[in-house]
Symmetry: C2
Subunit: 530 residues, 2 copies
């Protein structure tokens, strides 16, 4: 490629990517290349007339194929501050926007969530041709620029780096973007109301997800997934500090771990197997194997045909299991403290990310109490009944009632995080320990953020005989969970634990309303790509 090729490219209005096959695309690309070549030749002739003194100062680089080890430091956009004023530096960034104005071209350069203004003007360092070249570069192309950092008198409100701009002296393209983007980044970060009012576009969810690589470049997406990385880190660091061991549990299993429903089947050589619906049985087996306090972070799979705002067929489970001495509340305290450490860490370390997301999706700051509020299921039910809800003592909470209870709890206790303890035994899995004082209840709990469940947990039955009885009561084929039940025959400590949905924690902490926003490449009954 030569530098002239790009000059033929001009920005067009965004439109849907052609759905025709790649071969056709290729042919078109070849045609376009030939056309560009012709144009380039013409342009060459024209420009040969006026001598371009800056011709070595711009152009399209050959594809970076590691031809050389260039000893050139690149400064990150986020590090462009007034302390660097008057320094000559190199920067690599994308072209976020571009605006030509007479003999000048203003670019906004972007790297991740950071932006800076850059100016190329005809003068000592740039020729007319060079400014034209810059003005014709396609948005989202990646470029290297050499520039002098200049302090500005008036803050540049539209950029993250408001106190400086770059005066560009050289500009080279590292990777060109096609001119037609499947979505515009500025549309993708526009708050939902704003678009309607002012007749400006927003981007619907399917377009975002179909073009996830572009959608993930927005400041909002960058912030969401950096914060999510932080949730994982805080979860693990807190537990490792508390003496937990990280385990890895198999995802391909020979029998459905939580009963037969909602499980994906896998062809396994000459037989079939299942995808684990949770690491439940395996983390408990690790407790029986004396690891005492274990956690794992990994995918869990649910073949549930639920098309809701908070269900995915594959999500990331943050799982905890722990032996305790005398009462499962020892474990509940460990888990709630872990959640509190996560909330504090997010608040302290991810304020920029939280504020970035809030610009597009406003929400109240997340509130929690110390110690964590723990209500009994009965108490929760009483609050709901007092608010006019009719439901039986042993019924499970429906999603609307869950949310209503969250609002009632928020009003009364001013917290977005609480534990609901002692669920009816009937609505919990077979391995749940019954309440010693009332056989209709159980030593089990859910935890909620902003009125939605993020964790389900319980003391587990650690006695093989009672476990067998409970499994039979639930109609589970004992032969299929033999290895699991046998684990409890050779001395098993009392233990409890829980499983947290990572995407839900991120969604609810940030006050978002759809779990697909907090899963990079979400999977639901209707979506398997990208």
């Amino acid at each position: 490629m030569t530098k002239e090729n790009v000059q033929g490219a001009s920005e067009e209005e965004p439109q849907g990517q052609s759905k025709k096959g790649l071969k056709k695309q290729q042919k078109e690309a070849e045609k376009a290349a030939k056309k560009a070549e012709k144009q380039a030749k013409l342009a060459d002739q024209q420009e040969a007339d006026e001598d371009d003194f800056a011709k070595d100062r711009y152009g399209v680089c050959p594809m970076v194929q590691s031809q050389q080890k260039l000893d050139r430091a690149l400064v990150r956009v986020q590090d462009l501050t007034p302390e660097k004023a008057e320094q000559q530096i190199w920067v690599r960034a994308r072209i976020h926007t571009s605006r030509a104005k007479g003999k000048q071209c203003f670019l906004v350069l972007r790297h991740q969530q950071f932006t800076v203004q850059a100016l190329i003007a005809v003068g000592d360092h740039a020729s007319k041709q060079m400014v034209k070249f810059a003005a014709n570069l396609t948005k989202e192309s990646i470029i290297d620029v050499e520039a002098v950092v200049k302090k500005v008198d008036q803050k540049i409100e539209s950029c993250s780096q408001q106190d400086v701009e770059l005066h560009v002296e050289r500009i080279f393209v590292i990777s060109q973007s096609e001119p037609r983007l499947p979505l515009q980044l500025e549309d993708a970060v526009r708050p939902e109301g704003d678009g309607d009012e002012e007749g400006r576009a927003t981007v619907n969810q399917d377009t975002r997800l179909d073009n996830r690589v572009i959608d993930l470049r927005t400041t909002t997406s960058q912030a969401i997934f950096r914060l999510q990385s932080g949730v994982c880190q805080l979860f693990r660091d807190t537990l490792i500090n508390k003496g937990f061991v990280e385990i890895q549990t198999p995802k391909i299993i020979s029998a459905a771990s939580e009963g037969g429903a909602n499980v994906f089947t896998v062809s396994y050589f000459k037989t079939s197997a299942y995808l684990a619906q949770s690491p439940q049985l395996y983390k408990q087996m690790c407790i029986c194997a004396d690891f005492d306090k274990v956690f794992c972070v990994g995918p869990v799979f649910r073949a549930e045909d639920s098309n809701t705002h908070r269900h995915l067929t594959e999500f990331v489970g943050l799982d905890i299991e722990m032996a305790f001495n005398y009462h499962y509340h020892e474990v509940v305290d460990y888990i709630t403290d872990t959640m509190v450490q996560i909330f504090k860490g997010l608040h302290d370390r991810f304020q920029t990310e939280i504020q970035t997301v809030n610009k597009q999706y406003p929400s109240e700051p997340f509130k929690f109490l110390e110690p964590t509020l723990r209500l009994e299921y009965k108490e929760g039910l009483a609050m709901l009944k007092a608010a006019g809800v009719e439901m039986g003592d042993e019924d499970d909470l429906s999603t609307p009632n869950e949310k209503l209870l969250g609002r009632l709890v928020k009003e009364k206790y001013d917290t977005d995080f609480y534990v609901l303890d002692k669920y009816p035994l009937a609505v919990r899995p077979f391995y749940t320990m019954p309440d010693p004082n009332n056989p209709k209840y159980s030593n089990s709990y859910d935890m909620f953020m902003r009125g939605e469940e993020i964790l389900s947990g319980a003391q587990r039955v650690h006695d093989a005989q009672l476990l067998t009885e409970r499994a039979m009561h639930h109609g589970i084929d004992l032969e299929k969970i033999k290895a699991y039940i046998d684990s409890f025959r050779y001395g098993a400590p009392p233990h409890a634990g829980g499983g947290i949905g990572l995407e839900r924690v991120t969604m609810l902490y940030l006050g978002l309303h759809n779990i697909r926003q907090t899963s990079m490449f979400p999977r639901d009954p209707k979506r398997l790509t990208p």
Copy 2:
């Protein structure tokens, strides 16, 4: 259950667990319970004759069902040191061994990899009946004891806590083990040679894996998996310090990520899908989405019918992908430094675990150089040819040649870790960047520990056109990887990365010889359980 039940139990020689159904087991258990009840009644009568002054000091606790919040601190076995001498404490532990001798009973109590001797003797605190009760407890049962910590004159060589023993005053069973263990822990930690010579048993791998919960209790297993948890932690901490973001990639995918072979098929509602053979395409898409430096830790699936010492059908991938400026060696340096940080961290923080494993599986300490040795594939081939190996310049390394090269490198450079760079293009995946100087080679590399591959990586093709050409050259259906190829159309930074096999790192660092030892619940073509 009453305390008398246990008295009927006696230790028997280990033998294979009956393979008959659970129902039969249950019937037998019921019979045994009736028999025990009868015996208990008899025992009751006998004991009624002699008054038992200690009868409240021992027994079987009711199943811990969180009946009460007991305000009792339990001291961990590993914390039983001479500083605690003369203190009255409570300990929870398993019965590791038990030896009755006249009016005394010596127990070795175990918690995880730590052991302490405990003595119960007829006297002020224990009756004849209480000593008999203790002597009859089954191995691996979990007990609470109240005891006084006593310094000992002679070190107790057989225990980890060598300077103290416990004088037991109360003993209660928390969870009873069945008397017949499917394997003996002392057999399971015996070095392989030792068993043969002295006519003592060792435990074969299938017995271990069939009874993994017991096998994981051994000091060796505890050490292996604590160290493996450390590998994950060191990997992530090092990368987070280097500015990486953790990502979560989908495991259920619509098209085989690395070509069609060796992929597991999943039924996905009314269609089918595949299990990801690596997070390759997704971590690259994150680079195109400006995350710049990403890592992920998660399961990868290979439907390969390989029954070798180092292949699993499901293993844990530690994956890295990173944008670089001008040369992929920037990324190679990041990865090798990450490996070096892991080696150093293991050496500094897991010395006890390393030595524990070495007792059963002796090996030389793991050696590495700083900076890491990097050889070109051609150089490796020249070394092999000089050693008499015949192979073509563009052939891949066979496993025996890989190992031989490892030995040659160790002899010449004294390192167990090195990089082999610039593999022939023909033996690498379609997304590998060709060498700019020689089209037969590529910008790709493997990394080796003790002569076995632990990482495979490369600079990736970041240009949609070249990627299309390379995919077609490999006969890959372009329509199936459209979303992936399209990711590179809107500006893509040059990038490189690699995938590390967690179980292999643990195995090779510790000098073990079978990957099933470093996977808690290994999956291979013949094993799906437990």
